[in-house]
């Protein structure tokens, strides 16, 4: 491209809307001619020097806009084969995954209702009027879910970028401290861009948004018809989702100086209080809900600037609360998503500030019942409120305190703090005089009114048997009702179907109130990215298997049996020297429980990215750093090039990095796109039983030998190998079943014998501990004697001989015959023939 043509691509002609289109064309032609004949050289120079708007004298109503000046980029790493991949670029990789882990569909609904041909009955894998079959329709719905999830993160990232550029400028450096050189591994990997300032993320978001549009287009009637291609597109969407999350979190880390690898960051982040019982309701309380931190940061700024940080409580729910504590550690984490309804109904908040995502749609209605004004701060969640962004704060506060309006909309985050704090301080004394928690008499009235019709149970997502507990409470035994508090997912559907209008959620909360008041835990503040220096230390043990795995405990709180599962999963693996990283709701819920000595997991376990660590990475968007850690293992430890090299890195992770996601309470579409993004990068995930409602799983079939082929990159030899990992996405019914499954999904073909022995030890031990017996498939993971757990080696060799017919040399204690493949310490597994160094 010549300098002149490059310049032409950088400009566009913009009419002032005073002339007709033909005038514009004329002006453009004239302008182009002028450029070619007179000013080519000068304009080229000007374009290099200027960013912004250039008005040419004599060219009335014509404006040249210099969008971005291409600068010669410093060559920091050779560009890989797939920078900014399009829909089909990584299709072959997706097909490799899908071939081994075939999409499994469990339709949630038999019908398609998306066009006017329908409704179409697709049951029995029938075709609809447009020709789409049930299985492809399920793939389409999965793509739609991933789209919704991905756009939530991308919209969030774009919103943050706008706000941060407006507040701090686009040149805020992306400096994550001295321990992090690979600052944005997903950005480098997927786009080939190394961002230096937050403004550099504009190009990344442009790429994501363009891809989202193309993928969304494929959802239209009469577009895609193939199951495999719907899934490939969903995987592409999941990858974009991971990228958007990284962009969002790095922008806020850079702009707000959230913890990174600077002093006080990483493993040294402070502990903060967690739980409904942590809020001091004698003070004015502001409750922030959602995922976008700028309004909460402005509240924190206002409190600090006015010396009110000890006078006003700032608490939060869901991911905003993670990010608020990253910015302002005096803030408290009130709860995860699952307690939102109850936290609002408890009336602990004097002001509720909502931003975006995971906000109850009925927040205004609920807040009005507890006389709590709501401040909405984001155009994605306006809730019908009047825009008062530029009104005088005095007027807005007055209207809120006097209850003239249920809430207001303040779209400039920098104007939220004053209104929220002043409103909370003025309204708090008035609200304290109001009765919000029901008294004992009212409680008895309601529990006696219940006649156990069972409607609430039929409406409950987890089928809680509420009526029986009500009956016991009527006789004075409130314990069964109180025990429902933690198991309840907090949706409130029960209350709508009660024929006697019993406020069931409130009644359960009342029964549990003595416990709720004492719900106090501690969590380490979300620390953001894993350090490069930590990866240098653990890269080898993870790839060799001597650190048996990285367990990512992530996602929402739609658990089958309460929050204790989050604690149990985390504790079990951290105690076994896995690295446990947590984000979002599960990072919060895991902090609610304590050991016998009263210590929580964040207090009993270190926060380093190392064996036995319990690490709060942060909010939903911080999930990207878990991808980032896996990518950095390939980059820093294995020295693979990252830049534009997604396929090779995903292949590396699938074959070598024993990581497993656990989204035990996955609920939202974001959880779908997050899991799908992990899957494309080669990281499997386990979901709870509600996860089956996502309709699709990626399940392997160990009995189909040809599904399990892998290549030795040293010479191109193809091997049948053990199912490692066996699935990419699987649901378990109970936590007891999930624990050994998670351990199983950490096996990788590259494990050394020592690493395999450690992994097998934990798999067998967890199976015996929680299921009471040896796993039926343990032998599949044995390649050689030294793969066996040391303490049980002889016993297991005997079992292999007796039960499986393997041939054992007892004198040398060696396996002579039986394993699926031999063990070779130098085995270099890959799924990509192009990576074979020398073909035989």
């Amino acid at each position: 491209m010549t300098r002149f043509t490059r310049f032409l691509t950088l400009i566009n002609v913009d009419d002032d809307f005073t002339r007709s289109p033909s005038d514009v064309v004329q002006k453009s032609k004239f302008f182009m001619r002028a450029l070619r004949t007179k000013a080519q050289k000068e304009c080229d120079t000007v374009a290099k020097e200027l960013k912004g708007i250039l008005d040419i004298a004599g060219l009335e109503n014509v404006r040249i806009v210099i969008g971005k000046v291409a600068e010669e980029e410093e060559e920091w790493e050779p560009m890989g084969p797939h920078p900014k991949p399009g829909i089909t670029t990584l299709r072959n990789w997706d097909f490799k995954l899908i071939q081994r882990y075939k999409p499994f569909y469990a339709p949630f609904c038999d019908m398609c209702c998306l066009c006017t041909y329908g409704k179409c009955d697709l049951s029995g894998n029938k075709k609809g009027a447009c020709g789409i079959r049930m299985d492809a329709q399920q793939g389409r719905i999965v793509l739609l879910a991933c789209l919704v999830g991905c756009t939530a993160h991308t919209g969030h990232a774009r919103h943050l970028l706008h706000d941060m550029i407006k507040k701090f400028g686009r040149d805020v450096p992306v400096d994550l401290g001295p321990e992090i050189a690979v600052e944005a591994p997903l950005t480098r990997l997927i786009t080939g861009i190394r961002p230096k300032t937050i403004g550099d993320f504009e190009e990344v978001l442009d790429y994501i948004e363009e891809q989202i549009v193309q993928l969304s287009d494929a959802l239209h009637t009469g577009q895609e018809g193939s199951v495999l291609d719907f899934e490939s597109k969903a995987l592409h969407m999941g990858m974009l989702d991971s990228l958007a999350k990284e962009v969002a979190d790095i922008i806020q880390i850079a702009a707000y100086k959230l913890p990174s690898s600077k002093p006080g960051g990483g493993p040294d982040v402070p502990l903060v209080e967690v739980g409904l019982g942590t809020i001091d309701t004698s003070k004015p309380v502001i409750l922030v809900i959602g995922h976008n931190v700028p309004p909460a940061a402005d509240i924190a700024d206002y409190l600090m600037e006015h010396g009110l940080d000890d006078a006003v409580e700032l608490g939060g729910i869901c991911c905003t609360t993670h990010d608020t504590t990253r910015y302002y550690p005096k803030a408290k984490i009130v709860s995860a998503l699952g307690r939102q309804l109850r936290a609002i109904k408890l009336g602990i908040a004097d002001v509720i500030v909502i931003d975006e995502q995971c906000i109850r749609a009925d927040v205004i209605e609920l807040a009005q019942k507890t006389f709590t004004p709501v401040i909405a701060t984001n155009d994605k969640a306006l809730h019908g409120l009047e825009d008062r962004t530029y009104d005088e704060p005095d007027k807005v506060v007055k209207d809120l305190v006097e209850g003239k309006v249920p809430g207001v909309l303040i779209l400039d985050p920098d104007r939220v703090g004053e209104v929220a704090v002043r409103t909370a301080m003025q309204i708090a004394p008035k609200r304290r005089a109001m009765k919000i928690i029901m008294d004992d008499e009212e409680f008895q009235h309601w529990v006696r009114l219940c006649y156990q019709c069972g409607n609430c149970t039929l409406a409950c997502p987890i089928g809680l048997r509420i009526g029986g507990a009500m009956a016991k409470a009527a006789t004075g035994n409130t314990k069964p009702l109180a025990e429902l508090f933690d198991r309840c997912v907090g949706c409130g559907r029960c209350e709508q179907v009660c024929k006697y209008h019993i406020p069931i959620v409130d009644v359960i909360t009342k029964a549990a109130y003595p416990y709720v008041k004492e719900e106090r835990g501690r969590a380490r503040v979300g620390r953001g990215p894993v350090w490069d220096t930590e990866i240098r230390d653990v890269g080898a043990p993870i790839v060799l298997g001597t650190i048996p795995g990285v367990i990512a405990v992530i996602g929402c709180g739609n658990y089958p049996n309460g929050t204790r599962d989050a604690y149990l999963i985390t504790k079990e693996f951290a105690d076994r020297n896995y690295i446990v990283v947590l984000t979002g709701c599960m990072a919060i819920d895991a902090a609610l429980w304590k050991d016998e000595e009263g210590n929580g997991l964040y207090e009993t376990h270190h926060g380093r990215f190392d064996a036995g660590g319990v690490i709060n990475i942060g909010s939903c968007v911080s999930n990207a750093h878990i991808h980032g850690a896996a990518i950095k293992i390939a980059s820093i430890f294995a020295r693979r090039n990252l830049r534009g090299n997604y396929e090779e890195i995903a292949d590396y992770i699938l074959s070598r990095v024993g990581a497993c996601g656990v989204a035990w309470g996955a609920m939202s579409q974001k959880a779908a796109s997050i899991a799908t993004g992990f899957n494309r990068l080669g990281v499997p995930a386990v979901v709870g039983p509600h996860g089956t409602k996502y309709r699709r799983a990626f399940l392997g079939r160990p009995y189909v030998k040809d599904d399990w082929k892998i290549i030795d990159a040293r010479n191109g030899t193809e091997y049948h190998f053990e199912p490692a990992p066996q699935h990419l996405l699987v649901a378990c019914e109970t936590v007891e079943e999930a624990l050994p499954m998670i351990a199983k999904l950490c096996f990788r073909p590259s494990d050394t014998d020592r690493g395999r022995s450690i992994k097998l030890t934990h798999y067998i031990d967890l199976h015996e501990k929680y299921l009471g017996c040896m796993p039926p498939d343990w032998h599949l993971f044995v390649r050689t004697t030294t793969d066996l757990p040391i303490a049980k080696r002889d016993e297991l060799l005997k079992r292999l001989e007796d039960e499986r017919g393997w041939k054992i040399d007892w004198e040398r204690k060696r396996i002579l015959e039986g394993p699926m493949r031999p063990y070779d310490a130098s085995f270099d597994p890959t799924n990509l023939p192009r990576l074979v160094r020398k073909k035989e």
Binding site: Y105, A106, P107, S123, G124, H690, E733, C773
Partner: protein, 179 residues
Amino acid sequence: MVCEPFDIANVPGPAALGMVAAPETMAAVVSSAKRPLLVVGSEILRDEFYVDIAIEIGKKGIPIAATGHSIKGFLQKGYTENVSIINLHELTNYLRDPEWQGLDGGGNYDVVIFFGIIYYYASQMLSCIRNFCIKPLMRAISIDWYFHPNAAMSFPNIRPKDEDKYKEMLKKFVESIRR
């Protein structure tokens, strides 16, 4: 007879809402099956009675797939004769493959009986079987105390206070199986 799904909004579509059936009717389906399979979930552990029922069915020669952590119930009773541990998602994935040789190598199954599985997980797996296990046709029935619209046959929703009646229905179901 049609009744409300246990999760009331779980109305899959026009072809679903399988029938509510008497224990004897369901037993007749099982009796006539060539390759029946009992799929047991963790809810059987809430009462020994349910483990005993599963074992009684197993003793009639019907293999048992123990999903969730239900295996613990069988181990406690010392019954492992024809019991296989398997994850329900995995199992359902295999069931939709006509080439799968089953838990015992004897081939795939023609009737599966769901018992003691968390309602919504079971419902999704039953949906998969109903929609995709069609060539050859596999019939899925549920003997849980939930009405399952995705099962070909199931019991109606049974309230906890009627649990004794439910237990009687299960006994009748077991007694009526002829194999």
